[in-house]
Amino acid sequence: MIGLLVGVPLLGAAVLLCGGRRLDRGGHWLGTLLSAASFAIGAALFLSMLGKDAEDRAMHSKLFSWVPVEGFQADVAFQLDQLSMTFVLLITGVGTLIHIYSVGYMEHDPGRRRFFGYLNLFLAAMLLLVLADNFLLLYVGWEGVGLASYLLIGFWQHKPSAATAAKKAFLVNRVGDAGLAVAIFLMFTTFGSFAFAPVLSSTGEAGEGTLTAIGLMLLLAACGKSAQVPLQSWLGDAMEGPTPVSALIHAATMVTAGVYLITRSGAIFNGAPDAQLVVVVVGGVTLLFGAIVGCAKDDIKKALAGSTMSQIGYMILAAGLGPIGYAFAIMHLVTHGFFKAGLFLGAGSVMHGMNDEVDMRRYGGLRTHMPVTFVTFGLGYLAIIGFPGLSGFFSKDQIIEAAFGKGGTEGWILGAVTLLGAALTAYYMTRVMLMTFFGEKRWQPDAEGREPHPHESPKIMTIPMIVLAFGSVFAGGLFKAGDTFVDWLEPVTAFEHGHSPVSATAVTASTIVSLVLGVGVAWFQYGRKPVPAVAPRGSLLTRAARRDLLQDDFNHVVLVSGGTHLTRSLVYVDNKVVDGAVNGTAAGFGGLSGRLRRLQNGFARSYAVSMFGGAAVLIAATLLMRAV
């Protein structure tokens, strides 16, 4: 049953990718159907799970023994507990919606079949990731989603920028994956196993040092997958992919895998405070980093990407807080899944109407032309900035509270950071909103000189947006009401109440204040006066932020060019030195031969001399041998 969850979309991928052109007509529907099917299965499992009582809701099923080597037993086995179930529903649910959306969005693309194949492949990998019962199988899903994201970012391969972005994404992720691999090595050497159950249940026996090491390695993995500092650089470029992809993979699901990983291996982090601290720091930094970047971008998708980065920063931070944060991290993850997906789909719909224009400075005043998009986008907007009552509000508020709840100076700092983040979020999202839907038209003909004629997207695209909008409005409330969500996850992640120095109400209040501040400033800048069609030079910070705070430049200088020089010099060394030695030896013998050859000068008498000399030496040597 659990296996089917993964199997169904995998089948879809196989069929669609190997099926060939004859599937071009119906392929997309098949893909959508299968993902819907796996959602149905997920739902069914969910219901059956609700039937049981909290403690034994977890299900476990072993398919077969994968790599049985002396002392190294890796199984293909699944574990479905509340945590996994949450993800399953999110993935399949949002996934299905986005499948539907894509049917419309990719309508005119020749490679639509391939696209749906990749989407199904992604679903399968992602489900594998969250359903695996051991870290090795998780690793498979982990790289699987990486592959899917590689394929989808580079879906329009004829665009060099897309191909490059895809490669970059994969490579940066690979670095993270290496971290996960090392973590698994450590687990194996420490516990002789890498399955969740035994490892997580015996963390107590391992020394804190080991746990810290493992934790940090896991964090490295999380950073790669969830675009956290210092491995965040790929996410911005990943926006080269089709918008549904950005919505599904780079907003709702895959990028949150890091959060899942940390939450899942909570036991290890709980045993390693230092590791947790690092996690929190990474989360906090990314939170601000993403927000700042998001403030400066004029490309709507990049702005949203920055926002994603920052929101995941929230989650990581929360996860770093330990038992007091896990539940909220996941909760924010889910709500974020809804509204960010919604936002991206909205952005997609806007681009759809604007000849794939992405520069917000060329939008403006679209609310009248695409009302549905406007409304859904607006709701998503309200949700993400944490407008009271909407889902974003609840989840984010919880995290801020938990941040304070960390206690001590840390608590204060974290609280401040999260609040600042909230303000920034409000600012950049408002900015997006205003630049896109309000103000006067700044439309411009595109490269082919086609005037944009903004129009509402077809039903097939708007319906998913509407559904997601509902999600972003009510999900938070549902979860919050009576701590449903926390209780639901408790058996897996456990839950402790943080002892916040400030009261919950105070936190809420300050949240709202910062929110208002952000919106206000944004309105002050972009609402009041018309937006210049070309970006002003802007402050130093702005310019830096436009370039993703220069970290790409840093990578380029240090890694890329450095690496290029290294390889170039190595190639030289290999040809001249290593191989040179070989050829040199040969040449050496050749030269020696040429020189000795001259002795053979053709004169019989000189031959005789050599004989005579030889005889003399022979005699001398013989006598010498006797002498000594």
């Binding site: 022979l618 040597a621 013989t622």
Partner: protein
């Protein structure tokens, strides 16, 4: 000579009565002189061959020109075959193992090594005769088929006489008796059991070879030059050998191997106090043995006595080169083995280090210089030098394995060599044999079969597994390693690696480079050369894949009679 030795003992006896005076000895000996007894049966191989050779001379003297060729061919082949049969017979009768003995009044040893080598030599001789008698290669001059020997060696190259001789279609049928004499001497050489016989045998097989070298039909100047060089240097070396013999005689008072060995071992006391300053004088022994060994090393072509080899191999008529390269090595190594194992075992600790040096020089020298050769015959010459080095490694082992491995190696090597040179005779252009390597380019494309065959020979030379060359090399190195010459094995291995390079160069040339427009053509030989080549291939493969039987043979033959 037995008479003399008796006389010597008598002299020794009479020495008691004061001054040793020869005539009294002679007088005393006069009545006790009895005729020497010769075991003709045991010596039959040598006698048959030399008889056939003499017959050949008579034929050349009296038979009419037309009849000579076929008559000579028949006599030679018959003689060699009969001799070979005799060798087999002797071996079968156990002369090689249990009934090994000294024959001919101490002059010759009939034992395992001798018979094995004689058998090998006779086969080599037969194949040699085939290549000598080949008459399909040279374009038929004026109707009559000719072989690769000068029409009239006495005539001046390019002179009037030569043209007439060529027009008349004359051929030098003397080569067959010469070959037979050479074979006869070679049969004696490894069997020689005293230094005098050694010297005589040496000359008996050298002189015909000197002449044969001078008899090329084409490029006669080169041929003559080769002959002169070979002759002068050969004579020079044999002078050394002779002087060494004299010194050894002075040391031991006898030239008989076993007697010398006894004196060296100090088992029999000095016969006469007067001789104390000569007999047992180690300076004489060491210098003498060094000179004799040097004479042999010259024949095997060991560095630094190798320098004649390339020139002679290149200049001599190719069939002669092939025969010489194969047979001389066999004979000379046989003699060297006997000398070192029978005469000088007591001196092992003196000559071993020296031979080490020679072996190393020979292996490396041959291999290195060969790299830059441009003439196929010179290339093979240097290769033969390198192989002499490998053989020396086996000689140095100073064990029964050493002997048998060398015997095996010699057998394997000689047939590869014959085959290789036979192939060389086939690759021809307007100027006769095209021996310059550049002309061999793309031969594998023109005539794959021949090139493949030659490649097989080259691989055998290089010692690639599943060829006789590898089995031989392994046997020799194994013996050396067991004999405690591990370092020598390592050097040998390095040398083989270097050697591999130039063998490969030829293969690359034949198969991977484009054929030249003016490239040589491959003559279609008669059955004789074909069979020579075929035999070479067969031996190469058989000894490579299933050497055990022959190893056993060599193993049984691995004991010298004292």
């Amino acid at each position: 000579m037995i008479g003399m030795t008796d006389a010597a003992s008598a002299g020794g006896a009479s020495a008691a009565s004061g001054v040793p005076s020869l005539w009294t000895v002679a007088a005393g000996a006069g009545d006790t002189l009895q005729a020497p007894s010769i075991e003709y049966g045991k010596l039959s191989p040598v006698l048959i061959v030399l008889g056939a050779a003499a017959l050949g001379v008579l034929i050349d003297a009296f038979a009419p020109r037309r009849a000579r060729y076929s008559a000579q061919l028949f006599v030679a082949l018959a003689g060699l075959a009969a001799a070979f049969a005799a060798v087999i017979g002797l071996a079968a009768s156990g002369a090689a193992t249990t009934k090994a003995q000294i024959a001919g009044m101490g002059a010759l040893a009939v034992d395992g090594p001798a018979l094995f080598l004689q058998g090998t030599l006779l086969l080599v001789g037969i194949v040699g005769v085939f290549t000598f008698a080949e008459r399909r290669l040279e374009p038929a001059a004026h109707g009559s088929r000719v072989d690769s020997f000068a029409a009239q060696p006495a005539s001046v190259p390019g002179g009037e006489g030569e043209q007439q001789a060529v027009k008349a279609g004359w051929t030098t049928t003397e080569v067959f008796p010469l070959l037979m004499f050479a074979v006869g001497g070679m049969l004696l050489f490894p069997a020689a059991n005293d230094l005098l016989t050694l010297f005589i045998a040496l000359e008996v097989f050298s002189l015909p070879l000197y002449l044969l070298c001078a008899l090329a039909r084409r490029r006669r100047l080169l041929s003559q030059e080769a002959a002169v060089k070979y002759f002068l240097l050969g004579a020079f070396s044999s002078a050394f050998l002779l002087f060494g013999t004299a010194l050894l005689y002075g040391y031991a008072g006898t030239v008989n191997y076993s007697s010398i060995a006894r004196v060296v071992a100090g088992t029999d006391a000095v016969t006469d106090p007067v001789l104390a300053d000569t007999t047992g004088n180690d300076a004489l022994l060491l210098i003498g043995s060094a000179l004799v060994v040097m004479g042999l090393l010259f024949k095997v072509g060991a560095v630094p006595f190798h320098m004649w080899t390339p020139d002679v191999y290149q200049g001599a008529p190719t069939p002669v080169t092939g025969f010489m390269a194969a047979a001389t090595k066999v004979a000379a190594f046989g003699a060297l083995l006997r000398l070192l194992y029978v005469v000088l075992p007591g001196l092992r600790w003196d000559w071993r280090p020296v031979m080490w040096g020679v072996a190393i020089l020979t292996m490396l020298g041959g291999a290195v210089v060969a790299i830059t050769q441009t003439d196929i015959k010179r290339l093979l010459a240097y290769s033969s030098i390198a192989h002499a080095g490998f053989l020396l490694a086996g000689v140095i082992a100073t064990s029964e394995d050493g002997i048998s491995s060398v015997l095996f190696y010699l057998a394997a090597y000689s047939f590869v060599t014959l085959g290789a040179f036979a192939v060389v005779t086939l690759v021809r252009d307007a100027g006769g044999e095209a021996t310059h390597l550049s002309k061999w380019a793309g031969l594998g494309r023109r005539s794959p079969l021949l090139a493949a065959v030659f490649a097989v020979f080259l691989l055998a030379f290089a010692g690639i597994p599943l060829t006789s060359g590898f089995a031989g090399k392994f046997a020799v190195f194994k013996a050396a390693a067991e004999g405690g010459a591990g370092a020598l094995v390592v050097v040998g291995v390095i040398a083989s690696a270097i050697a591999a390079f130039f063998y490969l160069r030829v293969i690359v040339l034949m198969f991977f480079s484009e054929p030249r427009a003016d490239g040589p053509s491959v003559a279609v030989p008669s059955a004789m050369t074909t069979s020579a080549i075929a035999l070479g291939v067969v031996v190469t493969v058989v000894l490579g894949v299933a050497p055990q039987y022959f190893l056993d043979l060599a193993g049984q033959a691995g004991v010298f009679v004292r």
